[in-house]
């Protein structure tokens, strides 16, 4: 069974500062990795995903994440945040077996990024 850990429930940061949101996962099989963002009163939106290939993945809105297999981590980073990045961020995995890309997502508990002026 897979699990996802997001240790930081809330991350306050000043505008234009860099940020890293941490994600660690546990799985006995290979997985796909995802970061989703939920803005207030909206659905979850895909920020980026790692399926294979380069371990550094670039997503929308200037975010990027690095897959580290030895540390089973997939931390999300942005070099300079904006007020508009205030949202809740979810890390998720799905395993590669059977249906692969159509398999269910296993989510972490989410990290609320609060960008202050």
């Amino acid at each position: 069974a897979q699990s996802v850990t997001q240790l930081d429930s809330q991350v306050p940061v000043f505008e234009e500062a860099p940020v890293e949101l941490r994600c660690n996962y546990s799985s006995s099989v290979s997985v796909y990795l995802f970061w989703y963002v939920q803005y207030p009163n909206q659905g979850l939106q895909l920020l980026l995903k790692y399926l294979s290939g380069s371990t550094l993945v670039k997503g929308i809105n200037g975010f990027e994440a690095e897959f580290n297999k030895s540390q089973t981590s997939f931390h999300l980073r942005k070099p300079s945040v904006h007020i508009s990045d205030t949202a809740e961020y979810f890390c998720a995995v799905s395993d590669l077996r059977y249906g692969g890309a159509t398999n269910k997502l296993i989510f972490g508990t989410g990290t609320l990024l609060a960008v202050q002026p």
């Binding site: 659905g43 895909l46 979810f90 159509t102 269910k104 997502l105 508990t109």
Partner: protein, 111 residues
Amino acid sequence: EAGVTQFPSHSVIEKGQTVTLRCDPISGHDNLYWYRRVMGKEIKFLLHFVKESKQDESGMPNNRFLAERTGGTYSTLKVQPAELEDSGVYFCASSPGGQQFFGPGTRLTVL
């Protein structure tokens, strides 16, 4: 192109009542998923439809929950009778195979 829509956006019911949530996926998406987030916890998978068939219902908590997908289009999730622990946000997602596109969720409060 319209995204995934969910109805209602909010529902407040009393314990023991019945509630039906509806999800309209993006047109042409064969895969439809239901997830639930209980306050402060992770978003948890409930079930997965491929067209009208249940592909994986391993996350359904108990037999008070019934999901259907009529004709492989929209889906409903019925909770009968509702209990206090059923409160949370219910998300629907659809996919053509690959990325899942999420709706805004239905916030269910059971009093």
